[in-house]
């Protein structure tokens, strides 16, 4: 087990428009099996673009222009994710890396029941199952995340935001992936629900042993749940470290800035709080 599960080396992603924009700039990071890696940064810093790059979901004009993404399969062989295509890419998705997206309202298809959306995963991933078996598995997955399996026949709009996010997590677990990329999974949920979901993720990780790439703008949250944290600023990974190291001796002044910005959220700073200004330009 010396190999990391996922290693990203010098990854660069560009939006190839009239004046190309580099959204992810020379980023290198690795994730070990079973680890929660937190990626923090403010809106537009490129963290979601990075998440999409890992599962090859980027669409034009976004394109990976440099670097590599490597995956260690369960038999310890190395897979170059950027070389996957066609069927190999399709089956790699969800079987190895699953995703939980931000804003669970839109991540679920509004016209199908959640049961059938979970069952779709089994239909297209080589598992020869009867309809009854698929339903049974979907029901089991829902129970795993604490949802009554009567909800199989519910449509997304009939569920609360927290329940929809649980459904997404259940779906992500369907094929027992070894990494789940979570892109702002708790944004837009109220605080209590957010708490419950985080506990659920942690419990499930203990049970199933998957690693998590947890992406959020909320550094405070990451400090609580992550094994290691990376800080992104304008496409670059400016700092990495354990929560402990980050909190006690932040190296980059942007990290310092993020850490300092918590109090303002509790409302005891003036409304016009300072904001970090990249490159001094305002």
């Amino acid at each position: 087990m010396s190999q990391p599960l996922l290693s990203i080396n010098n990854l660069t992603v560009q939006y190839q428009v009239a004046t190309p924009v580099t959204a992810v700039n020379d980023v290198s990071l690795y994730i070990d099996p079973g680890e929660i890696y937190g990626l923090a940064g403010e809106s537009g810093c490129g963290k979601s673009t990075l998440a999409y790059a890992v599962t090859r979901l980027l669409q034009p004009p976004a394109a990976i222009t440099g670097g590599s993404i490597e995956w260690t399969a369960s038999d310890d062989s190395r897979i170059d994710i950027l070389r996957l295509d066609g069927e190999t890419l399709r089956t790699f998705r969800w079987e190895e890396i699953a995703m939980v997206f931000q804003g669970a309202m839109n991540a679920l298809n509004p016209v199908h029941t959640i049961g059938s959306q979970i069952a779709d995963v089994f239909k297209d991933h080589g598992t020869r199952m009867t309809r009854a078996e698929r339903t049974a598995r979907a029901a089991e997955l829902l129970r795993t995340v604490g949802i009554d399996d009567k909800r199989l026949k519910s449509y997304p709009h009939e569920l609360s935001g927290g329940m929809r996010q649980r459904v997404m997590i259940a779906m992500a677990l369907a094929l027992r992936p070894r990494l789940i990329v979570m892109d702002e999974p708790t944004t837009a949920l109220d605080v209590v629900v957010q708490r419950n979901i985080l506990e659920e993720i942690n419990r499930l990780r203990g049970e199933f042993g998957f690693a998590v790439l947890f992406i959020t703008h909320d550094l405070g949250l990451l400090l609580e749940i992550s094994d290691r944290i990376g800080i992104m600023l304008t496409g670059r990974l400016v700092e990495q470290g354990t929560p402990h190291a980050l909190q006690n001796s932040p190296q980059h002044d942007y990290t310092q800035h993020l850490l300092n910005s918590f109090p303002s959220l509790r409302g005891d700073l003036p409304l016009t709080g300072t904001r970090y200004v990249a490159g001094g330009s305002r």
Partner: protein, 327 residues
Amino acid sequence: MRYYLRKLGFYLIATWIAITLNFLLPRLVKGNPVDVILAKTQSSGPMPPEARHALELQFGLSHDPLIVQYVHYLGNLFTGNFGLSVSNYPTPAIDVVAQAIPWTLVLVGLSTVISYIIGVVFGSWLGWKRGSWTDGLLPVSTFISAIPYFWLALVLVYIFGLTLHWFPVAGGYDLNIVPAFTPEFIGSAIYYGVLPAFTIVLASVSGQLLSTRNMMVSTMAEDYVTTARAKGLRQRRVFGSYAMRNALLPSVAGFAMSLGFIVNGSVVTETVFSYPGVGFTLLQAVQNNDYPLMQAVFLVITLAVLGANLVVDIVYGFIDPRTRLAN
């Protein structure tokens, strides 16, 4: 359930408004409607006394208050009594319309369905392929969608009827064949229907195609489509079950508008082909100042369109679960 009741209520109101409009329009005209009509007819020859009588019956020239006329009109409506057709005297107007209905129903109904299916399937595909060479087809279909139905009909008549002699250019069937449910007659009706149907399909398909394509492009940016791709589902399933299935909803919801366009287009198309349908009947009624027939045709067309929309709304209730709020 509430959804369906609301829809039903809406269509009842719409029907009532259409019926009332049909009643009021001739009476809103300045002066006495019958005088207006008579003045018009005078120029095209003297009005036969029977026809004058039919007109008076139709408009209730009795100087009854409007409300009494209205009640009278509603009563006649329920018994299907629109008065006697002036141009087909003494056939009741409703019978003239009844003869035309099957022709239009089959022609416009089939063309609409065909055009809708082609537009939706091909439009979804164009949306799926957005950003590739297929986008070059967009200006072409924008151009086609701007061609007026009747002009397209004229051009097709010129090319396929008069130059190539592939299809007949006028009528609904070979007049040498007795109309009956014989293979011969049905074959002839199909043969005569090809060109009008092709006109309607060709003229209407581009609009459907463009709007479906745009909906598809919007839908494909939705999170659930990205989720479907991330889930490693087969392309076919991502396309059909996730993207297209959702992109279709607005086009079903907007059916009223596309049907409106097609009905408008069919009226003129039927005229070009002298097709024995409702649209051609309407035009003949107008040209002959056959007001009872005009009213009957207008009501029949309106009721048919309202009925079609009601059916589509019911279907929409089935395909969009969000309308079925249990509580």
